[in-house]
Symmetry: C2
Subunit: 408 residues, 2 copies
Amino acid sequence: MAATGVLSGMRVVEAAAFVAAPLGGMTLAQMGADVIRIDTLGGGLDYRRWPVTDDDTSLFWTGLNKSKRSVALDLSSQEGRELAMALICAPGPDAGLFVTNFPPRGWLDYDRLRAGRSDLIQLTLQGDRHGGSAVDYTVNPRLGVPAMTGPASSGEPVNHVLPAWDLITGQMVAVGLLAAERHRGRTGQGQHIKLSLQDVGLAVMAHLGFIEEARRGQPRARHGNELFGAFGRDFRCADGERVMVVGLTGKQWRAIADATGLGAEFDALGRQLGLDLAQEGNRFRARREIGERVGAWIAARPLAAVAQAFDAQGVCWTRYQGIEQLVNSDPECSPANPMFSTLHQPGVGEVLAPGIPLDFQGSGRLPAQPAPVLGQHTEEVLAQLLGLDTAQFGRLAERGVVARPPVG
Amino acid sequence: MAATGVLSGMRVVEAAAFVAAPLGGMTLAQMGADVIRIDTLGGGLDYRRWPVTDDDTSLFWTGLNKSKRSVALDLSSQEGRELAMALICAPGPDAGLFVTNFPPRGWLDYDRLRAGRSDLIQLTLQGDRHGGSAVDYTVNPRLGVPAMTGPASSGEPVNHVLPAWDLITGQMVAVGLLAAERHRGRTGQGQHIKLSLQDVGLAVMAHLGFIEEARRGQPRARHGNELFGAFGRDFRCADGERVMVVGLTGKQWRAIADATGLGAEFDALGRQLGLDLAQEGNRFRARREIGERVGAWIAARPLAAVAQAFDAQGVCWTRYQGIEQLVNSDPECSPANPMFSTLHQPGVGEVLAPGIPLDFQGSGRLPAQPAPVLGQHTEEVLAQLLGLDTAQFGRLAERGVVARPPVG
């Protein structure tokens, strides 16, 4: 069965930059929605975002705009903005969805856009809920996460490398558009949805209990590489390789005991400490003593022997590997994993590209498609959505409102 | 206008534990869906997950199950499992949605469940795509993130504190259910959707360019607290307070120059290095030299003076604060932020609880609702969905298949 995509027929316009909003758009595109990204001529704020190739093509931009169509317009001109507004408001029962992380003012004001399509759904992503400047790298320190990260002995904050807040928010962008479209299908009503990166962060910190424990006078301490509230941490094998071992559930804990043969020692330890180690919280309380025993067992064996014993008992563990090991030797990060395919990305060459992780077993999962060349679909989209003919497009090009894209 | 929730009318059954799948369910619940969580009697694997109160009520469980209804059944008994299956397959045009992170075998086998409802949508979350054991704490080291995190001078891996992969995946659970329901509404077809935490991680690492740069022989190095590819890092003020300062976009970069008065020095630096610092990548290349100048300016001033100068020019920055400062003195983490409300959580007391960060300005945003007491809605749900009367419920209770919940 050739997959058509679970969102086939839906059309979304995106005018956005960086991670969250483009990831939201791409999530929909990789499920089959027609996502039209509008950029200004020459590219927007994220068009050169690192990492880049040797000739300055952004692996970031091409990574976050897969499966979209690209329209490039001179958004500094009134005519360019009017074309963008017309695309946002173009008719179609499964259209009229717009996502942006630009300020919802001027031509992006919801009430103004809505004059062109009364049931428009617009999702505006902001840094904070007041429209102020905030990015993943500033939200995270404000939430207190860097102060809890890294070696327990250190007082230095540790920033995260993964823009986690952006990534969570990106999925929430897709959630918001899908939920609002469902509502519109039942009521006929469009609406403006506001979402802020900072509010996503605050909500998550509350959901996980970080905020409530701090409100109760027990702010989370730094625990280095230890899992909070149960047993889990990193260890070094005899050959220097590092492993992460987790005993969160009872089954995982028993597997560690079985694989290491330390069950009797754990029992004795529990009696000595007066703690029932079958309870996860007690494993956290006894983490130092448990860690010493597990650590000694692991330190006496090379990774291969640890792996064999752990896998035989179904221990929840992994080896720490660098990204070079991930890409060079882990079969999950290769076309052997059906989520991935190797494709030609204009400006970059052959890339390993993932489709959507959601494996829709009934309707099928679409393979990854490359990101467009900037402006690749300008003429096609203006013709299809606004009925512009070749001559009209040519006149726009002469006035510099649109450009003919380079051959990719 | 009293908000009814953008997903009002939708019904979802959840049988799950820990972060991702319950967060997916809660995301839908906080938009107005009727989310019925099924647990085994006494609670599932996450019922005591830390953080906990002094009397062992989980702030984690109550945080991730807000706005849901709770049904508790003896899932080790055939009768309990049959009741669960009947709830999953209960009729209703906006029902027949099921999310789980338990193995899709036995009573949770999709084909078996589908016999009870042919258009059932089931989303099964797994650790890896083969159904193997993997959790956030093992996925992350395998992806290479801890090896890139922390001080550049250190060779030690640094685990993240925030279960970022779980959180991204949780939102993707909601995306998958909404997308599949949209598809079912158009085609009548339900389906089984599989999603793995590890695939989410791999996809994200590719989207952001980490995988492609490593495939091209340039694996990302550790850059400590520095933002990659532009200018951004932490600094220490004269009074010891720490700040994060970001110059990612041109506007952000100019704001730093204006606030610090270092514009002429930056120009001279650019000429000296032969780098146009208006280009973000060159700011990364010159990060050490820029950092010395910005750092000296900040080190000469207490936080208050830095804040005043930065805010006057719209610099993208933040103070590093601990979570105790966040909860005690940041108005965004209080009921002054309309996302939050103070409510009574059974077993915990007064908590500061967030609703959904998505602010649906047309249909309204629902206020946060507490998590249920375990089994609080068993009788109500069995009556409503399966038509069980009081006498039938009483006989189930006598046989130990259900329990009457404690008064919360």
